[in-house]
């Protein structure tokens, strides 16, 4: 048990210590209490891992929410210039429009951008109903848009025949439409009886446009030929009398009651037009569907017959037109 050695400059690796002995034992070598403790410890570890996971997830969610609101500046992206614009929209606007509208300086960095100002620019066009702008580091500005859909056209004040029209959305906002198919915008009825905003003014919502849009969409869905025949929609009496007047390309005035069910009114109109189509001699000039159960139909005045001339509605040039007979007004009860 003893022995003495003096050594210098040579080092053997340290001998194994009792700490190198593995302490773990198999569960069958443990007592019942020991096994219970192992299970309890495993449960505690799982619970701790769960708590940590939840805390991490919560922190991530909070950070993401703050970032999406632009409230949390990203420290790492302070000087990164914007290299890419990404656009996600439910309409027709494209990246070119986005770039034109935002008009970002060429060397603008993500952190230099005023997101609220950019958002206001996007909304100022009127076509974008809502906009969300997010910095995506390192160098992407992500824009998410929700666009308005046009339901009618509106002539800009002082516009000539070739000038582009304003478009009116369901919520009454009028705007210069961009990116729409011209055939689609050309098929929209004109809105008359409302004044369009001036060139520099912010588009003000047209009152009662929701009702008009409801009539238009109902007609487009349920009575396509009738909708396609409409040239313009007059809303000048909407607020006062609750009437919407549609003027067809044939000159027929169709008056709808804003308080009545549009589906029933369209059905009555369709029935009357079908009935009139079977009587070529009677030309309808005005149909008023806003009278509840009654429908007032005014026929076009029948021209006086000219001796020796062929019968027909057109007058013959050179001959003074004879005085037309007064237009008859018929009252129908259609249920």
């Amino acid at each position: 048990m003893g022995g003495c050695a003096l050594k210098e400059a040579t080092t053997n690796p340290l001998a194994r210590s009792w700490r190198d002995i593995p302490q773990n034992v198999k569960p069958r070598a443990m007592s019942r209490e020991g096994r219970r403790r192992v299970k309890l410890r495993a449960l505690r570890i799982a619970a701790a891992a769960g708590v940590i996971g939840l805390a991490g997830w919560g922190a991530w969610e909070v950070t993401a929410a703050l970032r999406s609101q632009g409230g949390l500046p990203g420290a790492a992206g302070g000087a990164a210039p914007v290299r890419e614009l990404s656009l996600s929209t439910d309409g027709v606007l494209d990246k070119a429009w986005l770039a034109r509208t935002l008009a970002l300086p060429p060397d603008a960095s993500l952190m230099d951008l005023d997101l609220e100002g950019l958002r206001a620019r996007l909304l100022a066009s009127g076509q974008a109903r809502s906009a969300a702008i997010v910095r995506k580091f390192p160098s992407t500005l992500a824009v998410s848009l929700s666009e308005r859909s046009p339901v009618a056209r509106l002539a800009a004040p002082g516009a000539g025949p070739g000038d582009p029209a304003l478009l009116v959305a369901r919520d009454g906002v009028s705007y210069q439409g961009t990116g729409y198919d011209p055939a689609m915008t050309g098929s929209l009825p004109w809105l008359v009886g409302e004044s369009a905003p001036g060139p520099g003014g912010r588009p003000a919502p047209i009152p009662g446009m929701g009702t008009v849009a409801e009539l238009l969409s109902r007609a487009q869905l349920e009575a396509g030929p009738i909708y396609r025949s409409w040239k313009s929609i007059d809303v000048s009496r909407l607020e006062t009398d609750g009437e919407i007047v549609a003027l067809t390309r044939d000159g027929l005035r169709e008056t709808f009651g804003a308080q009545e069910d549009f589906y029933r009114q369209l059905a009555k109109l369709d029935l009357l037009l079908d009935a009139a189509a079977g009587k070529p001699g009677e030309v309808i000039r005005d149909i008023n569907l806003s009278l509840g159960g009654q429908v007032s139909v005014a026929l076009a005045p029948v021209p006086a017959p000219v001796p020796g001339a062929a019968p027909g509605p057109a007058s013959v040039s050179g001959n003074p037109p004879s005085a037309p007979s007064p237009a008859p007004v018929l009252q129908f009860h259609i249920n």
């Binding site: 003893g2 001998a15 070598a29 007592s31 940590i52």
Partner: protein, 404 residues
Amino acid sequence: MSSSHTFIGAVEIGTSKVSVLVGQHTGRELAIIGRGECPASGVIKGTVVDYKAASDCTHAAVEQAERDAGERIDFVFLAQTGSHLEGFYNEASASVKAADNMIDRDDIRTVCELAMSKELPAGRVVVRHLRRPFRVDGRLVPTSPENLVGQRLEVGYWTVHGQEQRLADNMHVIRGFNLEVRELVLSSLASGHMVTTPEERQHGVLVLDIGAGTTDYVLYRDGAPHTTGVLAIGGTHLTNDLGVGLRLTHSQAEKLKLRFGRALPHTRDKAEKVWLDGNYSIGDRQFPRHTIEQVTSARFWELLEVVRRKLGNAFSPETCPGGVVLTGGTAKLPGAAECAGKIFGIPAHLGETPAWIAQDLRDPGYHTALGLLYYGINSHAERAPSGRRRAGFLGSIGRLFSST
């Protein structure tokens, strides 16, 4: 209880009983808050021979201690004894590297690694390296030699090593309760730390921890353990001798030993007899008291003689002015100190714990467990000075994962 406290279990798996103390450590203070005790089984001479029996009694004692404390033990300091433990001395020297001969940390680390780098036989592992004081150019340095000036730095280690399988058996008994053994402390060091003062250790003192199955001893010099050892002889041998000599069962012999045994013969009247039970029941017998004392004293004398021989040149009365301190259950034998004084030629006395230890923990049977806590904490802190316990929620989580 606050989560910043550590609850340490001091476990001594002895031959006759398992003792467990629970200490509440706050980083600065240690309070004993629970204890448990259970008769040992499956353990012979400090070695586990029946894993299940040893586990059952140890776990019962741990549970009892935890109930008493009202807290769960975080980790364990385990006392280690057994005749498989051996020690050797190895020293090394190194030249101081700096041009100005000022010793720095690298010099100290180099010489320490040299002194500890001794190969062991297969199947043996180091239990503890006990460093003896440094020497600078032959001059004794009781503390750190850092920043002292000298050309040659020397240090020696008393390395205690044991059989890996037996150490593993002991640790697995604790692990079977899903507790980790953080420190393995020699029983002799634990009890020696408790029953001696720093001053005694500085001057030189010999501590004998005489248990039921083993006798652990440690010789202190210059404030540090100089030599340690374990003998596979203890109080059980005295009982066996009585049983064989007087033809008694083990329990009867144990009873006689506790009542009439002595480390030195005291009775002059050879005709004096004592009753086995003293209640006049059937089978109760009389035995010569002188004979009982002769049998126990002969074995006790022999036990101390063996210790003296094992110490060899390491011990001399001149280098051990602190005397001999006896502890352990068998040291309570009347005349033990007197016997030790005669054999070692220096004063001997029974070890006593410091006055601030509670009265019910002053029994020699608890000296090892108490020493385990105090010595183990110091040793643990020395080994991991930066391992301060973290408090709070994150600390709890860290402990949870580290414990896996």
